[in-house]
């Protein structure tokens, strides 16, 4: 059919539709109002009945299809599992590719992906070897229109084809879709590849919607070799506050001993309260008595979150002499500050003072009782 014929054909169809439409309208125009409404209703009923039947049939067909697929996949999984278990259990057996039909290749790779999540070392390598012939097909699917599917395929490539397929994963860091970008960043944030920090840090500020715990956990997972970079970020007053907080939280999780000194510098400038709180958490976990003077100043901060974490850090690095300072926290307008102050007293082993408070008629006497109970002194 030539393009002219095709256009003519389309025009004929359009003409027929117009003709029928005009006939229908003229039919309705001639009708009295009620009869017209009735006919519209009847047409609607017919349409809805057909639609209902189509939906019902669709559901039944979907059920049949799902059952058939489930049975087929279960059969395939059983046969693959047998072969894979043979490879995994026998030492030195030559690996022969598992026979997979073209249509089942993606499912096979997904199956190996699920399997791989339970394995380590040599066994994982066997699974990776079995997957290898099919991974270029997965890499091609990174062009899929759905970001969720691209993210899934990134995860598959990371688990079964890392580091061979690192290039498409690095490219994914420049994706617009946050889910794909994050999937790539989480994969690259690998303990065995600290050099990837140079790729991750520049994009970290674009994850501004993700929870800080999530980002910090990802960075900390890369291990102490990236600490130098995190310190640089934390120290950089021009840097994004979120990146600096994520760096501080990651350094704390890593137990980086150089972090407290940087935290002190940041606290002295005292910019963002959340950043200060993260720095105070570093001092709580890794601080020393020489940080006491700074903390004694911050327990009186006008910002609640700073007071809470300063009290907490003082409980770790302070001494019994600081109990009276902490005692003042019991009268703080914020219940969280009061709770933390008393907990810190408990940490400093100020048991007598806590017992005094517990016996007193202070309105927050229950905190002292709670802390004494937590420390088995009640």
């Amino acid at each position: 059919m030539t393009s002219e014929n095709f256009l003519q054909y389309l025009e004929d169809i359009w003409g027929w539709v117009q003709n029928r439409g005009e006939q229908l309208f003229s039919h309705f125009e001639k009708l009295p109002r009620l009869e017209m409404a009735l006919q519209v209703l009847i047409l609607t009923i017919v349409f809805l009945l057909i639609l209902t039947l189509i939906i019902a049939m669709g559901v039944v067909l979907l059920r049949i299809k799902n059952n058939v697929i489930a049975k087929r996949y279960s059969r395939l999984e059983q046969s693959w599992e047998g072969q894979i278990m043979d490879f995994l259990s026998a030492d030195g057996v030559e690996l022969t590719p598992v026979e997979v039909r073209k249509a089942d290749r993606l499912f096979f790779v997904q199956y190996l992906y699920r399997f791989a999540s339970r394995l380590r070392g040599h066994e994982l390598q066997i699974i990776k070897d079995l997957a290898r012939p099919h991974l270029p097909m997965v890499a091609r699917k990174l062009q899929s229109g759905y970001p969720e599917l691209r993210a899934r395929n990134i995860n598959i490539l990371a688990t079964l084809g890392f580091p061979e397929f690192i290039d498409p994963i690095i490219e994914a860091l420049n994706e617009d879709a946050p889910i794909v970008k994050m999937a790539a960043a989480r994969i690259l944030a690998d303990r065995n590849y600290p050099e990837h920090i140079g790729l991750i840090m520049p994009v970290l500020s674009s994850f501004d919607e993700w929870s800080m715990n999530f980002l910090a956990s990802m960075l900390a997972g890369m291990g102490p070799e990236i600490a130098y970079r995190l310190r640089e970020e934390l120290q950089n007053p021009e840097g994004s506050v979120r990146v600096r907080i994520a760096s501080a939280e990651a350094l704390r999780r890593m137990g980086d001993l150089a972090a407290p000194d940087i935290a002190v510098q940041v606290l002295e400038f005292g910019q963002d309260p959340e950043l200060s709180a993260s720095c105070l958490k570093i001092l709580r976990d890794m601080g020393t008595p020489r940080h006491r003077p700074l903390l004694l100043g911050l327990v009186a901060s006008p910002v609640e979150v700073i007071r809470i974490h300063a009290m907490s850090a003082l409980g770790s690095v302070g001494s019994i002499k600081d109990s009276n300072t902490l005692r003042q926290g019991l009268d703080d307008p914020s219940a969280w500050v009061a709770l933390q102050a008393v907990r810190s007293m408990g940490q400093l082993n100020a048991i007598e003072l806590l017992e005094d408070i517990a016996r007193s008629d202070h309105p927050r006497v229950a905190i002292a009782r709670q802390v004494l109970a937590e420390r088995n002194h009640l």
Binding site: N66, Q370, L372
Partner: protein, 478 residues
Amino acid sequence: MTILVRLLEMLLEGFNYLVLVYFLSLNFFYLLTTILAFFALRRYARRMEAVDLQSLIAKAGVPPVTLFAPAYNEEATCVESIKALLALNYPEYEVLVINDGSKDSTMEQLTQAFDLKPAARYKVADIAAAKVRSIYQSDFHPNLWVIDKENGGKADALNVAINYCRTPLFCAMDADSILERDALIRIVRPFLEDASTVAAGGIIRIVNDCTLVGGTLTDIRLPKNLWAKFQVLEYLRAFLSGRMGWSALNATLIISGAFGMFKRSAVVAVGGYAHDTVGEDMELVVKLHRYHLERKLPYKISYVPDPVAWTECPESTKILGRQRDRWQRGLFEVLARHRVMLFNPRYGRIGMFAFPYFYFLEMLGPAIEMPGYVAFLIAIIWGSVSYTYMLAFFVVAIVFGIALSLFSVALEELTFRRYPRTRDLFQLFFLAIIENFGYRQLTIYWRMHGFISALRKVQGWGIMERKGFKTTTGASAK
């Protein structure tokens, strides 16, 4: 006399037009949310394929969570429910059971089953609530706490729990509900992916006649009781089509009190749950919207369709009627309290779209639909409307309702497939047809009753009877 008759005729005709507009608007919204839900669920299913839950648990730094389980006369189900809560797949969480002055043996059952001992715990917020009698901690499960308080209602119990909550997020639920093992990690995901999330709701499914082993559902099936079966279909429609559709519009106005996750600081900022309404769950969500929109603060309220809470539904018309009456009263009270949001552009799509829908179609709906039946009947007797026309109109309404119900069943089949028996699938088809002949009219009647009760400012929850879960083990919580 003729003028009076003519006036009555005009009134009747006007009312019939109102019913017609109501019918068209309601079904327009149903259709819209169903279509949006279809696309949103497909996207969600794809997204879940890209998420490795175990990796999230292991590496994502998920925040600690406190589960609130308010219990009032829950002796039939509380031990089994709490055992299930203690077996959830989540790295760090506490369970806070609030015994709201139960008159039955709830407290004794809990004490015995979990070896509760008095313990000290300090309040970290000060939302007004009834007096706490004692606080207990389990010897066997240090993350299980029970607060025994004077009766004050569910909202009061939840406020007490907020006062004692020490984690950044809390999950409010009913003590008689069973959460699936991965429910917490699934519902917490929106909080990880978007730090501005302040609340997320999960799906509620019906547990009647399903089998529970060691806190986990092993046999999922449709209930035997007809009323419960109808509710299964209703819940599919409400959660898979309705809430998913509204969530796709970023206009979630309801998170069920039976299962929702909240950011503690945001809830404290809005003053916790309202004591003076039976719709405290919806009121909290509306209040959160209002608080953030009025202050122009970034926030997100999501609905997540796969974290499941299984709950027992009423099996008698008496109890079901009370429940629907209460829901309608709750809706009325909440919408009336926040009516300033109605068509107020300050509240964005909530004020201009979601709120008017709930106000005119859900709240006032029964007051139009119920008299609508009567008016149509009068109109036919009067002879002002053609009998054939009326019949055709009703057939359209019924077939459209059936189509929407079947579409919800289709959404279930496309995504979660929780009812694997083919027999159950055909039963759902059958229920989609027969619910139009009696059940729907009954629910309208109960909602109308609730509407009138709300106008009369009737208070209280009414009594709910529980028959308990079907379990196959009697193992103790220890």
